[in-house]
């Protein structure tokens, strides 16, 4: 557990988080590995884990009828995915698939939500880390939506 605590504290998402908080969050964490091509979660399923990527790459995808799966974001070491675990309805809104062998820290989201509810300082600290990720992805989506490199430019 001590090793996992160190790994967690070294991940950019938890950088500079109070050691006591890291220890608390660590109680919800476990190491996991996904093989290349393996789905980590599917759209519509319960958001039961929040993932901190340590090694490898992960693609976030949405499938549309007749068009198959479309990747809208790839993530690398140091990044997080499964970010919609904190708010209801706790359900994935896309698929996540390992592109290479991916090593992650998987955090049990029910456990983490309970700890955030019990200790609002921890909850706020995690929220402050989650919000920039969400805003950055919202902004990136806007730019993708603008289709910047299209012929109209």
């Amino acid at each position: 557990m001590e090793n996992l605590e160190r790994i967690l504290s070294e991940h950019p998402f938890f950088t500079d988080l109070d050691k006591g908080f890291v220890a608390l969050a660590c109680g919800c964490a476990k190491n996991a590995r996904f093989e290349a091509g393996q789905f980590i979660f599917h759209e519509g399923e319960a958001a039961d884990h929040f993932y901190l990527l340590r090694e490898g790459r992960v693609a976030l995808q949405i499938s549309a009828p007749g068009r198959g799966a479309s990747t809208f974001l790839t993530l690398g070491p140091g990044e997080v995915f499964g970010v919609n675990w904190l708010v209801p309805p706790y359900r994935w809104t896309c698929d996540a698939r390992a592109l290479d062998g991916a090593r992650v820290i998987a955090m049990d989201t029910l456990c983490l939500r309970n700890k955030c509810e019990a200790d609002h300082d921890l909850g706020y600290a995690i929220m402050k880390r989650l919000m920039p990720v969400l805003l950055e992805r919202l902004h990136a989506t806007r730019l993708q939506f603008l289709d910047l490199y299209g012929a109209h430019v």
């Binding site: 693609a59 995808q61 198959g68 799966a69 479309s70 990747t71 809208f72 974001l73 790839t74 690398g76 140091g78 990044e79 592109l99 950055e136 902004h139 990136a140 730019l143 993708q144 603008l146 289709d147 910047l148 490199y149 299209g150 012929a151 430019v153």
Partner: protein, 285 residues
Amino acid sequence: MSDTAGVLKPASAAPPMAPRVAHVRRRRHDAPDAWTLELEMADGAPFNYAPGQFNMLTAFGVGEAAISVSGDPAKGPLIHTIRAVGPVSRALTKLAPGDPIGVRGPFGVGWPMAQAEGKDVLLVAGGLGLAPLRPALYRLLGERARYGKVTLLFGARRPDDIVFRREVESWRGRFDMEVEVTVDHAGPEWRGHVGVVTGLISRQAFDPSATIAMVCGPEVMMRFVAMSLVDRGLSEDFIYLSMERNMKCAIGHCGHCQLGPTFICRDGPVFTFTRLNPLLAVKEL
């Protein structure tokens, strides 16, 4: 060619409004709507230019358009990569080997190659924005020892839209530079990054005090790239953007390309973010 404070000045001594005649030597399809033309000057004289400069190309009987040079300044032939977006550019992209073409230039202030010496150089390109950066990259690689770490971050719309694809792949294979490519949209067959090019900046390790950035692409993309670089600690003075506007005369007389107090053709197209930041904040300027 003078080079005060590391900024290149226009070099042409030819009459600025008189085009030279060239012939298309080769034509290559580079992306769904972009073609690369290799040109040979009809008079056989060399065509000297600096990375980042542009020419006014004439499709005879149709008109003239400003197109950045995309070839190697140290080697012939003169190369332009053109996206077919309007009547003139469409006519230019349809020229076949042997066809005549008018060349007026080179014009404008290029990339700050002298200022970049001794520094790490970060090139950020979006879409066809790689074309004006390619001469700078040739210079960096041709005089590799003069520069520190060289990194190219390149964003395209889809995998099929990646211009200079074979060359980008060869750059990726080099040991003396780093290349990251991302696309906005991709199917499962694409194995590379997906996401906007600004996302590559946040993943990139660089020393802001020793880095100079050269950015070219759609204006919105450049704005957010520049802001991301500033967020990472890079000074606005060391972020260079290549602007695009409707250029007609290319010598600062007609005013078509005016951006606030500057003329893109004469004072640019390459500017520091320090100079552009207040102008880019003005909507519809």
